[in-house]
Amino acid sequence: MVVRTSSTRDQIRVVSAKKGLKATVAEIYSRRELLVFMVKKELSTKYRNSTMGFAWSMLNPAFMLAVWYFVFSYVMRNGIPDFVVYLMGGLVAWNFFAVSLQSASSAVIENAGLVNKVSFPREILALAKVGQAMVFFVLQLIVLALTMLIIQFTPNFSQLYLLVPAMIDMIVFTSALCILASALNVFYRDIQHFLEVLLFGWFFGAPIVYSFTGNLVSGLSRYHVLIFYLSDPMAVIVMTFDRVLYGKANVINNGTVVHVLPNYSTDWFLAVLGAVFLGSMLLLLIALKVFSKLEVNFAEEL
């Protein structure tokens, strides 16, 4: 019959409008299994009734990659050798960010039925979208690795560890914005449309389809806006990905030296990634706070 687990008997929960940040974080952490279930649900239902099914999750970025590759290698001729690796390195990070944010903005709204009927930390709805994007991110990294094997491209193994802080930054920063967007979008449904436009512009703020060198850097420095360019976490994250995956600052192409990556040192990367981490953590705390504050009125707005 029913098995009683007495260990949970003494748990005490307080429902009130005033909820501390610590309680929020503890609650989300205690329900991490739910997050896993929600991600599984997202993944297994997203492509359920389409013929190609899960393949779409790879086809979409593959097509995007093909278009950018064609445009910048043959039409615009940016002259970056092995551009496909350079492009993919930045694109995997960017796709993770953009896909998460785009889908998380409507996460609370599309689960209105749940929000009105079941009690659970609603932040999980936004985080599930991040988790889903994480799965695609890993798959795309695998595809990138296979591509490197096929074209016999060697990444910068000596700085591979830089990917760890870059990915942590990427997850924290993305989660913060996703939580914020999912809550705000309940009250201002413009957010999700606004994000489409914003993400399109933002894409060019990070060195994904161009290289962050030469004229660009000197131009930015001359107008003293380099600091703004580098305070975009996505720019820093993409640069780190390129540093690790593409790896070569200067490439000899058809006899001429092409300057592809900035010559920043490992310490510089660690310092900037550290700064991004602090900034992202602060943003995450603000996002959680805002979410808790707005959450009180979700039921009325949905």
Binding site: Q11, V15, L34, L114
Partner: protein, 425 residues
Amino acid sequence: MISVSIEGVSKRFRLPDQRFNSLKERVMHFGKVPYHEFWALKDIDLEIQEGTTTGLLGRNGSGKSTLLKCIAGILQPTNGQIVVKGRLASMLELGSGFHPDLSGRDNVYLNASLLGFTKKDIDIRFDSIVEFAELSEFIDSQVKHYSSGMYARLGFAVAVNVDPDILLVDEVLAVGDEAFQNKCMDRIKQFQAEGRTIILVTHGTDQVRQVCDYAAVLSKGNLVYKGDSLESIRSYRDILVNDANSEEAAHVAASTETTADTADKIPEDSEHSRLDLGNGKSSSALERYVEVTSVTFRNKMGEKINSIPSGESLSVEFGYNSKNINEDLFSVFSIYTVRGETVYQNYLRDELYSILALGEKGTIKFDIEQLPLLDGTFKVSLGLYDSQNRCVFLRDSLDSFSVTNPTKNTGFVNIIVKPVVEIDS
């Protein structure tokens, strides 16, 4: 030990007069959305002891579901707080969170996880959930192919099998076929026997009497009664009657004309024209006049009462003044439910109910031996008709009495049933 402690809880809803969901509209209104405030709960204090079953009674819109949602943590109170001790599972809607494209199995895991249970918990209970829902054949098909009954069964099975200390139930027991309903009731009784706490939202007084130890009655966001479940039913009935009366009063004030909907309460063969909805002052013919001055309910000892246990004798006395009544009249005595269904009405031409003379002052008394009504609040009406079936007087559904039910039987009337089993040898 107290399981759930509700401390000064109020909940305010802001209902926007219009929906402004876009930034443009908000900007145009300088960020202010026109809304009116609505307090769904006003300063509720309630303590629920561990191991008891408490019913939340109230009319639609009384705030009972809002309170349950606050306890469940779905809504956060505007003021005050709720302290919940122990694991809580809520059944506000069966199968909420089920995704149509997922299989029954996946949905069980997802749903139980939403209710706050770990994968390990669910693994242990999975088989008993499926068995309880009677869905072992279909557990791996997508729930979109389920019938609504199967859907609800699975939802209920998850909620009751996940071992909550506190179970919140919101009018969901009326799902599935009768056999399954009985199973649900049995499971709830088993929960009670195991000493778990149950909070049940309902407007079915039968349910309260059958399963609840205590009840709280809500009206317009206020807690009007808390305590014994039978007492609470009476309090709930009072609210129903008061509300019905005030609605009726408003109705009378709005129209002094004859209303069609009350006409069907008059015996079929009368061609009366009724000018009066029962305030007891005027009559159809100017010269004839009857006024009821008092309506009294008495038990067999002659004591004035408002509520009477089922099965006892009841007298209904109408005190009256009259003028110029020099003819025989026929009286029509009716008993209605609060909702207006006729429980009893005598035949208009029944000689037993004929009145030979009224005089100027007196009482008309209707004696009921062994009131067979089970429980509820009932309204009485008195109509007086002349030999041409014209209505001389009508006092329609203004006075009510309530019946308490000492038995565990439910329904409108108590029927004496003797079950006999004869075994064929």
